[in-house]
C-alpha cells in the first residue's frame, strides 16, 4: 500500500532523478518538457498523499535513511498541515514549469543546464522540508539543497552584476537563518524518546515534543530563547521585518520569472510552515498553559503588522515590475503573520469563543498562504510575460500593453484585484477570515482591533500600488518605447495557459471560499498532535459551497450572491446603454488642443501618488 509518506518520498526521489536527467540533456526545449513532465509526475504523488491525508486522516511517520551512529534518520511524516503546504507547492510548480518551457527561449546566451536541474532540486528540497520531522540533520540537508539551488537560480543571468550580488545576499541570509534555526533546535532538544516502540532521535520533532513540557517549566528562559531563534530563522526565510528587505527585494527580480513565482509562491511559505509548526504544533495541548502564548501572540502579530506596513509602503514607491511585486510579498506575509499571531494570542484564553476566533484567524493565515501563492505567482508570470515581450521591468517605459496582449492583461487584472482584496476574488476571502479573527478577537486581546484596522488600511495601499502596476503597464497611454520596440502579438498559448489556470483558481476560491476553508478545516483536524490540532476541533465556517461562509453569529458573507448581483446588474447596465441606440465613433483624445501626444506629456508610473509617497518617505529606512 502506498502510504502518503512513501508517496512524498517517491516525489522527492523523482525530482532528484529529474535533476540528473535534465543536467545530461542538452536541448533547450526537450529539457523543459522533461522537467515539466517530471513536475507533473511528482505533483500526482504529492496530491495523492495530501488528499489522502486530508480525507482519511494521517498515518504514522516512516523512517527511510537511518544511521544510528551518526544520529541521522530521514523520518517523513505527512499530516494535515504538511499536506496543505505540499498541495500549494505542487499547484504552483506545475504552471511555473509549464511557463518555463517557452519562457527560457528568451535567454539565448545562457545554458538551461544551469536552470532545470536546480529548479527540480529546489522543488525536491521544498517537498522534503515540508515533510521531514528531523529538526537538525535533514532539516539542514533540505535547507541547504533549497539554498544552493536557489542561489544558482537567482544568479542564472550571471552577466548582470546585480544578480550576482543578489544571489550572494540570499546565500548569506539563508545560511544565517539555517544556523539560527538549528541553534534553536539544539537548545530545545531534550534528549531521545520513544513513540509507539520506535526509538526517536534527540532532534526529532516528536522527541522534542515529549520533552517540551519539562523544558518549559524548568528552563523558561532557554526555551524562550529557542523559540526566538525559530522566529528569527524562519523570519529571515519568509521576509519578516527587519530581515525581509535585506535579501527578498533583490532576489526576486534577479531570478528568471518562473523562479520568482516559485520563490514568492512557495519558498517563502516554507518559513510560514516553520513558524506554524514550531509555534503552534510543537507544544502539546495539555502543556499549552506552560507556553507563554500571550506574549508570543503579541510579538508575532506586531511583527506581522510592521512587516505588512513597511513592505507595502516601500512597494508603493517601486517602479520596477518585479521589485514592486517582491516588496508586496513582504507585505502579504505580514497578513499571514498577523493571522498566526492572533491565533496564538487568542489561544491563551480558555474560552470557547476565543478558541473559535483563533481557529478563524489561523484558517485565514493558511488560506492567505495558499491564495498568496496563487496570485503572486500569477503576477510574477505576468511580469515575466511583459519582460518577454518588451525586455524591460521598468514601469515608466511601459503603457498600453492591453492592445498587444489582451489575454495576459485579463489574467493580470484578476491577479491585481485579488492581491488588493477586491471581492469576489480569493484575496478578499482570506483577508476576510484574518480580519474577522483579529478584530473580533479584540474582545479578548484588545490590541488586535487596532492591528486588524491597520491591516485594512494597508490593503488600500496595496490597491493603490496594483492600480499603478496594472495601469502603468497594461492601461494608460501607449509609450513610444512600447509602440516602437515591441513585437506586436499576443504571447504563445503555452505561456498563456499557466496564467489562465492560476487566474481561474483565483476566481474559483474567491467565489467559493467554502472549498478552501473546508480543506483547511480538515487539514487542521488531521494535523499531528500539538496545540494546533485543537483548532481542528472547532466547527468553523458554517454555510455551504453555494450559500457562502460564516461562523456562528459573528459574520457571514456570500461571494456568490455578490457575483450573481454583479452579473444581473451588468446586464441591466448593458441594456440601459443600448436603450438610446447611440452610434459609436472613434476619435482622438482631447488634450485641450495645444498639447501633442508625445512621451513628454505622458503620465507614467513615477508620477503616481506623489503626496502619499511623501507621507511614507521615511519607510525607506525601515
Amino acid at each position: 500500500m502506498l502510504t502518503p509518506e512513501k508517496s512524498v518520498f517517491i516525489a522527492i526521489l523523482l525530482c532528484l532523478a529529474g535533476a540528473v536527467i535534465t543536467a545530461i540533456l542538452r536541448q533547450r526545449k526537450l529539457c523543459g518538457i522533461v522537467a515539466f513532465l517530471i513536475t507533473v509526475a511528482t505533483a500526482i504523488f504529492i496530491y495523492y498523499a495530501s488528499f489522502d491525508v486530508l480525507i482519511n486522516g494521517h498515518q504514522k511517520a516512516v523512517t527511510f535513511l537511518s544511521n544510528k551512529s551518526l544520529g541521522f534518520a530521514l523520518r517523513v511524516f505527512v499530516d494535515g498541515l504538511s499536506a496543505w503546504f505540499l498541495i500549494l507547492a505542487a499547484t504552483i510548480a506545475i504552471p511555473s514549469m509549464f511557463f518555463s518551457i517557452k519562457y527560457m527561449e528568451h535567454y539565448e546566451d545562457y545554458n538551461v543546464s544551469n536552470y532545470y536541474p536546480y529548479i527540480l532540486m529546489f522543488l525536491a528540497a521544498m517537498y522534503g522540508l515540508l515533510s521531514t520531522t528531523d529538526m537538525m540533520w535533514f532539516f539542514f540537508i533540505f535547507w541547504q539543497m533549497m539554498t544552493i539551488s536557489g542561489f544558482f537560480l537567482i544568479r542564472f543571468e550571471r552577466k548582470n552584476r546585480a544578480n550576482i550580488k543578489a544571489s550572494n545576499k540570499f546565500m548569506i541570509m539563508m545560511q544565517i537563518a539555517c544556523f539560527v534555526t538549528m541553534l534553536g533546535a539544539a537548545m530545545i532538544s531534550g534528549g531521545e524518546a520513544s513513540l509507539d516502540n520506535e526509538k526517536l532521535l534527540r532532534y526529532d520533532f516528536d522527541a522534542v515534543q515529549q520533552h517540551i513540557g519539562s523544558l518549559l517549566t524548568e528552563k523558561p528562559t532557554l526555551s524562550a530563547m529557542a523559540f526566538l531563534m525559530f522566529l528569527i530563522g524562519f523570519g529571515i526565510k519568509l521576509g519578516m521585518w527587519p530581515f525581509g528587505k535585506i535579501w527578498l527585494p533583490d532576489a526576486h527580480p534577479a531570478a528568471p520569472s518562473p523562479v520568482s513565482a516559485m520563490l514568492s509562491g512557495v519558498m517563502i511559505k516554507t518559513g510560514v510552515y516553520g513558524i506554524m509548526r514550531y509555534f503552534v504544533w510543537l507544544v502539546p495541548p495539555e502543556k499549552w498553559q506552560l507556553f507563554p502564548s500571550r506574549y508570543w501572540g503579541l510579538i508575532i502579530s506586531l511583527l506581522g503588522i510592521i512587516t505588512l506596513l513597511t513592505g507595502t509602503a516601500q512597494a508603493l514607491r517601486q517602479e520596477q515590475t518585479k521589485r514592486l511585486l517582491a516588496f508586496h510579498s513582504i507585505g502579504q506575509i505580514g497578513y499571514i503573520l498577523l493571522g498566526i499571531g492572533a491565533a496564538i494570542a487568542l489561544s491563551y484564553y480558555s474560552n470557547p469563543l476565543a478558541l473559535t476566533l483563533g481557529a478563524v484567524a489561523i484558517a485565514g493565515a493558511l488560506f492567505h498562504t495558499f491564495n498568496h501563492g496563487l496570485f503572486k505567482s500569477l503576477l510574477f508570470l505576468n511580469a515575466g510575460s511583459i519582460l518577454y515581450r518588451t525586455n524591460t521591468q521598468d514601469l515608466n517605459k511601459l503603457g498600453g500593453l492591453i492592445s498587444i496582449m489582451p489575454l495576459t492583461a485579463i489574467t493580470s487584472f484578476i491577479a491585481s484585484m485579488s492581491i488588493s482584496g477586491v471581492p469576489p476574488l480569493n484575496g478578499f476571502a482570506s483577508k476576510w477570515s484574518i480580519y474577522v479573527g483579529a478584530i473580533q478577537g479584540g474582545k479578548f486581546a484588545p490590541y488586535l482591533i487596532p492591528l486588524g484596522f491597520i491591516a485594512i488600511f494597508t490593503s488600500g495601499l496595496t490597491l493603490a500600488s496594483f492600480i499603478k502596476f496594472f495601469g502603468a503597464s497594461f492601461l494608460s497611454r501607449k509609450s513610444a518605447f512600447v509602440s516602437e520596440k515591441t513585437v506586436k502579438s499576443e504571447l504563445n498559448w503555452s505561456m498563456l495557459l499557466p496564467q489562465f489556470l492560476l487566474a481561474a483558481l483565483c476566481l474559483f476560491f474567491g467565489i467559493f471560499p467554502y472549498f478552501g476553508l473546508v480543506g483547511i478545516q480538515s487539514a487542521l483536524k488531521n494535523s499531528a498532535a500539538g496545540f494546533g490540532n485543537t483548532f481542528g476541533g472547532v466547527n468553523l465556517f458554517e454555510g455551504g459551497a453555494l450559500s457562502g461562509v460564516g461562523y456562528n453569529e459573528g459574520s457571514f458573507i456570500s461571494p456568490l450572491m455578490v457575483v450573481i448581483a454583479l452579473v444581473l446588474f451588468s446586464l441591466l447596465a448593458i441594456l440601459i446603454m443600448k436603450l438610446g441606440r447611440s452610434e459609436k465613433r472613434a476619435s482622438n483624445q482631447w488634450l485641450c488642443g495645444y498639447v501633442v501626444e508625445d512621451d513628454a506629456a505622458r503620465y507614467n508610473a513615477h508620477n503616481f501618488y506623489y503626496q502619499i509617497k511623501q507621507i511614507f518617505k521615511g519607510s525607506r529606512k525601515l
Partner: protein
C-alpha cells in the same frame, strides 16, 4: 429568501428612481445659494436620457476596457444597494458583513480608477491618482466607524451594526463613537465627492478627471452610478449614526429614512455651495489627521470607551 430578494430589488428600483431627483434638488439649492435660477429639479433625468442617445465617442486607449469599467461602475453600485438595508426592508444584507461592505465600496471606486486608466489621457491619469490617494484614508475612516459599532454589538453582521449599536459602548459614555461621528461628518463631502473634496474630478482644472474621455451612454452610466453612490453613503451614515425610526411600520419608516437622506443631502449641498476646492496636498494632510484621530478613537473603543 424570496422576500429578501424582493426587498432588495425594491430597494434597487427605488434608488434608481430617486437618485437623480436628489441630484436635481442639490443643483436647484446650489443655484439658489449662488443667486441663480438653476435648472428644473427633473433636469438630471433629462440629462441621463439625453446622454443615452448621444454619440458614443471611443477616444480612449482601450475602448473595451472603458466599456467594461462603465458597466462595472453601475453594476457594483447597484450591488451595494441590493446588499444594504435601504429603507425598504433589509434587502440581502444577511449575505454580507461590514468587511464585505467596505471592500465592495472600494470596488465601486476601483471601477472609476480603471475607467481613468483605460482612457489613458494625462488628465484622467492625474484624476485617478488623486482619487486613489483620497480612497486610501477614506475607506479606513468608514471602517473605523463600522468596527466600533461591530465591537459594541459583538457581530459583523449588518443588521447588528446598522442599528445604533455604535452608541452601545460598554463604558459610561461612548467617547469613541462621538469622535468618529464628528470625523465622518467632517469628511462626508469627500464620500459624496462634492466640493471641497471633488479634487479628483475638478472640472475647472482637469476637466472631470477620470471621466474626461467619456461621452454618451458610458458617461450616463458613470453619472448615474455617482448619484447612487451618494445615496449609499447617506444610507450608511444614517444606519450607523441616526438609525432611529427607520424600523417603523411601512410608510413611516420608509418616509423617515428618505427624509433623513434629504436632510443629509441638504447639508452636503450647503457646504459644497459655500466652499472652494482644496488642493490635493491640503486634502491629503487633512485626511491624514482625520485618519490619525479615528485611529485614536478606535484605540479608545478597543479598551471599551
Amino acid at each position: 429568501m424570496m422576500i429578501k430578494i424582493l426587498s432588495a430589488l425594491t430597494n434597487v428600483v427605488i434608488v434608481l428612481a430617486v437618485a437623480p431627483l436628489i441630484e436635481g434638488i442639490m443643483r436647484k439649492i446650489t443655484a439658489r445659494i449662488q443667486s441663480r435660477q438653476g435648472p428644473p429639479i427633473l433636469q438630471p433625468y433629462y440629462d441621463l436620457m439625453k446622454l443615452l442617445i448621444k454619440e458614443d465617442i471611443e477616444s480612449g486607449e482601450s475602448p473595451s476596457m472603458q466599456r467594461f469599467s462603465a458597466i462595472m461602475a453601475f453594476a457594483s453600485a447597484l450591488t451595494v444597494v441590493a446588499l444594504l438595508p435601504l429603507g425598504f426592508g433589509y434587502g440581502l444584507s444577511s449575505h454580507t458583513d461590514i468587511i464585505l461592505t467596505i471592500y465592495l465600496l472600494t470596488f465601486c471606486g476601483v471601477c472609476t480608477l480603471i475607467a481613468g486608466l483605460a482612457a489613458g489621457s494625462t488628465y484622467s491619469l492625474v484624476g485617478i491618482s488623486r482619487e486613489m490617494m483620497l480612497m486610501i484614508p477614506l475607506e479606513p475612516i468608514l471602517a473605523v466607524a463600522l468596527i466600533i459599532a461591530a465591537t459594541n454589538s459583538g457581530s459583523f453582521k449588518l443588521d447588528a451594526v446598522l442599528n445604533g449599536s455604535i452608541y452601545n459602548s460598554p463604558g459610561i459614555f461612548p467617547i469613541s463613537s462621538i469622535i468618529i461621528l464628528v470625523i465622518i461628518l467632517a469628511s462626508f463631502q469627500a464620500y459624496a465627492q462634492r466640493v471641497p473634496f471633488d479634487i479628483s474630478e475638478a472640472e475647472t482644472e482637469i476637466m472631470d478627471g477620470p471621466l474626461v474621455e467619456y461621452s454618451g451612454p458610458k458617461l450616463a452610466l458613470f453619472k448615474y452610478s455617482r448619484m447612487i453612490r451618494l445615496v449609499i453613503y447617506c444610507a450608511l451614515f444614517i444606519g450607523l449614526f441616526v438609525p432611529w425610526g427607520s424600523n417603523l411600520m411601512f410608510p413611516f419608516g420608509f418616509l423617515i429614512f428618505w427624509f433623513k437622506v434629504l436632510l443629509l443631502v441638504l447639508l452636503v449641498t450647503v457646504v459644497a455651495a459655500t466652499h472652494a476646492r482644496y488642493r490635493i496636498d491640503q486634502a491629503i494632510n487633512y485626511f491624514a489627521i482625520m485618519l490619525l484621530v479615528s485611529f485614536f478613537a478606535l484605540a479608545l473603543a478597543s479598551i471599551g470607551l
